[in-house]
């Protein structure tokens, strides 16, 4: 986070601003007490911030506080709510289905975050000094494309790919693995794995674009120097590329880990948490229990736990980042 630098208005400008005809009365008042001049400046600033802050507070800030409040009650969304203390939180950790949903989120993290970051770094190591390649911008455009397609559309596309005669099974048949074919999203053993791979597909491009842009900022002389020392590819990568990419790795991990934990649209469209509960995730549980099964308090507790996990992981990942001095 960066510190706030604000420009202090000088005394003259404050008076100059005030001595316009319309502000005459205020100008008189401002001259009366020099302290109130700054106070008026302050009041004006609040007028600028107020509209945005009101919208933010009413539709986001207050509901966040209410989610915490709801999580201590047992409420079906219609009748009266009863206070149950931390019972909902205990249930989040005791209810096997809810526990599983968090376990599934961890599995998805491996697919959404670890795999793309690893593959991205591996490719970055192989692609040396790619900023000198003219065709880079074309690849960047293509690799980034999955990021801008609506998740609902992405889900629809992959439902077809994983279907009985879809692309996934076609590829398997083509390489002689016909006995492996199945309806990937309908199978207890493979549905979560199939959803995870969609995340891998989504995030590889993002990671690669981030890392390559980072490599582009490394002075070429550094590479020249290690090459002259006779260092190989591996040494070059660990000594120069990896340390230089710490910031990008932190950003990529933050984005991908959070996207794994927030997974909702994909699960909702492809499996609704099924078959059984094999692909249910916290975000889906929160939605489903609040709006379908009438367990609003419990759903809120799931949402609070999920939010806390996201915030903690974001903070943990930001420790990787080099502290940059602005």
């Amino acid at each position: 986070m960066t510190a706030l630098h604000s420009v202090a208005p000088s005394e003259e400008t404050a008076t100059a601003t005030l001595t316009r005809a319309g502000d005459h009365a205020q100008a008189v008042r401002a001259r009366r007490a020099s302290g109130s001049r700054r106070a008026r400046r302050s009041r004006v600033a609040y007028l600028y911030v107020a509209p945005a802050f009101l919208v933010f507070a009413i539709f986001l800030g207050v509901p966040i506080a209410q989610t915490v409040q709801y999580s201590f009650y047992d409420w079906n969304g219609l009748g009266t709510a009863t206070w149950v203390g931390i019972e909902n939180y205990l249930r989040v950790f005791e209810d096997p289905q809810l526990r599983d949903s968090f376990a599934h989120a961890i599995v998805l993290m491996a697919f959404y975050a670890l795999l793309p970051v690893m593959i991205g770094l591996f490719l970055t190591a192989l692609i040396s000094r790619s900023h000198q390649m003219r065709s880079m911008s074309f690849y960047r455009t293509v690799l980034f494309l999955p990021q801008v397609i609506a998740s609902v559309v992405v889900a629809t596309i992959w439902v077809a790919i994983y279907s009985q005669n879809g692309l996934a099974n076609e590829v398997l048949r083509a390489i002689g693995l016909a006995d492996l074919t199945r309806v990937w999203l309908g199978d207890y053993d493979t549905a979560l794995f199939a959803i995870g791979l969609v995340g891998t597909w989504l995030n590889i491009g993002l990671c690669l674009v981030l890392f390559l842009s980072g490599v582009g900022n490394i002075p070429p002389e550094l590479f020249e120097a290690v090459r002259l020392d006779g260092a190989g590819r591996v040494r070059e990568f660990t000594a120069i590329t990896l340390p230089a990419l710490r910031g990008q790795i932190a950003v990529a991990l933050t984005l991908t880990v959070v996207s794994a934990l927030k997974t909702f649209d994909l699960v909702y469209i492809t499996t609704r948490g099924g078959p059984g509960n094999s692909t249910t995730v916290p975000a889906f549980e929160a939605y489903n229990r609040a709006f379908n099964t009438g367990q609003v308090g419990l759903a809120s507790a799931v949402a609070v736990v999920l939010t806390v996990v996201i915030v903690l992981l974001t903070i943990a990942i930001s420790r990787i980042e080099p502290k940059d001095v602005e």
């Binding site: 706030l4 630098h5 420009v7 202090a8 208005p9 003259e12 400008t13 100059a16 601003t17 316009r20 700054r38 911030v49 945005a52 802050f53 933010f56 539709f59 986001l60 207050v62 966040i64 209410q66 409040q69 192989l126 040396s128 000094r129 790619s130 000198q132 690849y139 455009t141 690799l143 494309l145 999955p146 397609i149 609506a150 998740s151 609902v152 629809t156 596309i157 439902v159 077809a160 279907s163 009985q164 005669n165 692309l167 597909w201 590889i204 674009v209 981030l210 070429p220 020249e224 984005l255 649209d265 975000a283 939605y287 709006f291 609003v296 759903a299 949402a303 939010t307 996201i310 915030v311």
Partner: protein, 274 residues
């Protein structure tokens, strides 16, 4: 430093492989959308003819005319509201000193990382008690609130790098802050404002959870929500589904190809600055 020919080839091959991996599913859906319904099994096959009528059929059967208009209304309103409010707030955070400014700013920043699940449940019940559910307001206001965190943060960063002496000079000339902002600060900042507007357009257009929770009426559904329902009704009609999917994704994809530099720099830059 010159790359050897071998290195160049290796680079190209690796990048090409992953570009293919990224693009094949998207090409597949394009192909599927022009495959006649009766020969589409959901796989990857060259169609016997271009069945462009799939688009017309998906459009009318899926009611997409209505959904696209909904999406346009909501997206336009969210972008306009967010741009105006974030310019005002960003300017104050960047250029004015007031008590509690850092506290307010950090509260806003919370919105950058929090999942929608953190607020959507009470938000629905609040909206219901205000009688606002199942209306455009139920989509516009929360999505504006969601966008404001990023937008204010973005605008503050832009305005902080604005030369201070120009501001001082304008103030000495007796211009009021609000005129300084709209006539002197905003015009040269129009490019980053456009970048932000483009990103918010994408996020708003693609949003699924908020419409799913707030909207009941068929005629208020946004394009992604309409597609989700359409998908539920026509699970195995791959041609229709593909055509519908292409239609929902196309506006943003076209925007992306036209302004790819803005998209990528905005997404990479906006996040990296945190």
């Amino acid at each position: 430093m010159k790359l050897s020919l071998r290195e160049k080839i290796v680079n190209q091959v690796i990048l090409a492989m992953f570009a293919v991996f990224a693009i094949v599913p998207l090409l597949g859906v394009l192909l599927s959308s022009v495959t006649p319904s009766d020969e589409n099994t959901g796989g990857f096959a060259i169609p016997s003819r271009l069945a462009l009528e799939n688009y017309g059929e998906a459009w009318t059967r899926g009611n997409f005319g209505v959904y696209v208009i909904s999406s346009l209304i909501v997206t336009t309103a969210v972008v306009l509201l967010t741009v105006v409010l974030s310019i005002l707030a960003g300017f104050a955070f960047a250029r004015m000193r007031f008590i509690g400014s850092s506290v307010l700013f950090y509260v806003l920043l919370l919105g950058l990382t929090l999942p929608a699940e953190a607020f959507i449940i009470p938000l629905y019940f609040n909206m219901r008690s205000m009688g606002l559910t199942d209306s455009y307001w139920a989509l516009i206001l929360p999505q504006t609130a969601q966008s404001l965190a990023f937008a204010t943060f973005w605008m503050r960063n832009q305005f902080r790098s604005f030369p201070g002496d120009i501001l001082e000079a304008a103030r000495l000339d007796g211009a009021r802050d609000i005129r300084v902002l709209w006539q002197i600060v905003v015009p040269p900042t129009i490019a980053p404002i456009m970048t932000m507007a483009v990103l918010i357009t994408m996020w708003t257009w693609n949003e699924f959870l908020i419409p799913l929770v707030m909207i009941v009426s068929n005629n208020l559904r946004t394009a992604p929500l309409g597609l989700a329902f359409f998908q539920g009704q026509h699970v195995t009609d791959y041609s229709l589904l593909a055509a519908a999917g292409v239609m929902v994704a196309l506006p943003i994809a076209v925007l992306y190809f036209a302004l790819q530099k803005r998209f990528i720099s905005g997404m990479v830059g906006g996040i990296s600055q945190r």
